[in-house]
Symmetry: C2
Subunit: 254 residues, 2 copies
């Protein structure tokens, strides 16, 4: 890590990395900084998957280290602002998440939507754009990977899928990575599960990668598989070579 | 105009405007600030259409005033960085434009591409994104219009088209505005002329509007029609009602 830029919206780890990968973790944090505080949630709720993607930051760091990547991650809970949603989306500041009401998100005034948008969404995506632009300008041919986790039980139903591979307009890297994961691991890896673009989960891909024409994929790990730092690191060790192989595969055929 | 933010990359006029329009002028300026200087061009070349879109800023200001819009415009020549191109495009810092060599753009080193990208492209598009995000957060349902001009004679050939209406992935507003212009004026108005998305001229539309799902259009005026401030203002007076009518038309059918 050569450098780090940090505020309540965003941290950038390794901005001078010479690799081509840009690793993104929009739901890295369950911090509830001032002026928002806990939004009326209990300590248990603030630890739960509704507040963040448990394990995702550790996995993202493990991947970034192995891919010689820059890592761009969030520093506030997605319940204050979900950085994977545009400012006009109800899901950007959800009044309800899974089975939980979010008291501090009830009837948010437009001025408060603007405050959160300007404090969190705008700087996060500006920082991410700047990192991608940097690699484009230097001729590094960037590849963007967003790293998420999902809960094993959602709305009372258990999920069998272990690795979700999600794409937006350009499916090339998702298809190639999914194929590598199926060939090289015993994981239950599925395309566009447990979420897909139809669930509005591909905003970061559409905002940051599609307009630049760069390969991109969103990966979702079931969070029981990356609960500890050791599991996160082991998963990064397993997935990093598959991402490299997938990129090589799509470039062969281009 | 309630406020203004200005640097070498970008000016924002009317950031507190309560209207829904965001007017953009990427080629507003033929300034050649330090550290780049004149790129080895003559004074005549720096006045010509290769350096900027003559008349476009005056037209954009006239439209912004009538549409109660925020205006985001460039403050440096497009020959230093063409803000309507991504950082890896040869056209972002062209070594040749129409029939002119650009000496200062010959064999640009990656570090210099990065310097220009970070000085001009990144802040311009961050500022524009912030204005769009602001209107989205406030529920203003933004509409983005980019304003350009083109030369009457290009590579020695005269152009008959007077008003070009160009779209990217979402053609709705372009089609509606073109129909209004044909119905209400005697202008020679054409879709996707003299340029189209195939010429890579729709980067700003693709970067800023498409990911947000907001109506958008690029308009191109033949620059002999907007050569003077009076002509620019008259053209704005003519086109602003057509833009409003076009937006109303697409929203009727949505």
């Amino acid at each position: 890590m050569t450098d780090q830029i940090t505020d309540i919206a965003v941290s950038i780890e390794g901005p001078d990395s010479s690799g081509r990968f840009v690793v993104v973790c929009e739901h890295a944090s369950n911090a509830f900084p001032a002026p928002w505080g806990d939004l009326g949630l209990s300590a248990a709720q603030r630890e739960a998957h509704i507040a963040w993607d448990p394990g995702a930051l550790g996995l993202a760091r493990g991947l970034a280290a192995r891919l010689n990547a820059v890592l761009v991650h969030a520093n506030s809970s997605r319940l204050i602002y979900d950085l994977n949603r545009p400012p006009h989306s109800a899901g950007a500041m959800p009044a309800r998440s899974e089975i939980h009401d979010i008291p501090g998100n009830r009837n948010i005034a437009p001025s408060e939507r603007l405050t959160r948008t300007e404090a969190l969404y705008v700087p996060f995506h500006a920082a991410l754009r700047a990192q991608i632009a940097r690699k484009l300008a230097l001729g590094h041919a960037p590849v963007m990977i967003t790293v998420h986790s999902f809960t094993p039980v959602f709305n009372g139903k258990a999920r069998a899928v272990e690795l979700g591979v999600i794409h937006d307009a350009d499916p090339a890297l998702a298809l190639a990575f999914h194929a590598e994961a199926c060939a090289a691991t015993q994981m239950d890896a599925r395309l566009n599960e447990p979420y897909s673009a139809a669930d509005e989960v591909t905003h970061t891909l559409a905002l940051q990668a599609t307009p630049m024409g760069i390969p991109n994929v969103m990966i979702e790990l079931r969070n029981d598989l990356i609960a500890t730092p050791a599991q996160q690191d082991a998963m990064a060790e397993r997935l990093a070579p598959l991402l490299l192989a997938a990129v090589a595969k799509i470039e062969e055929t281009r």
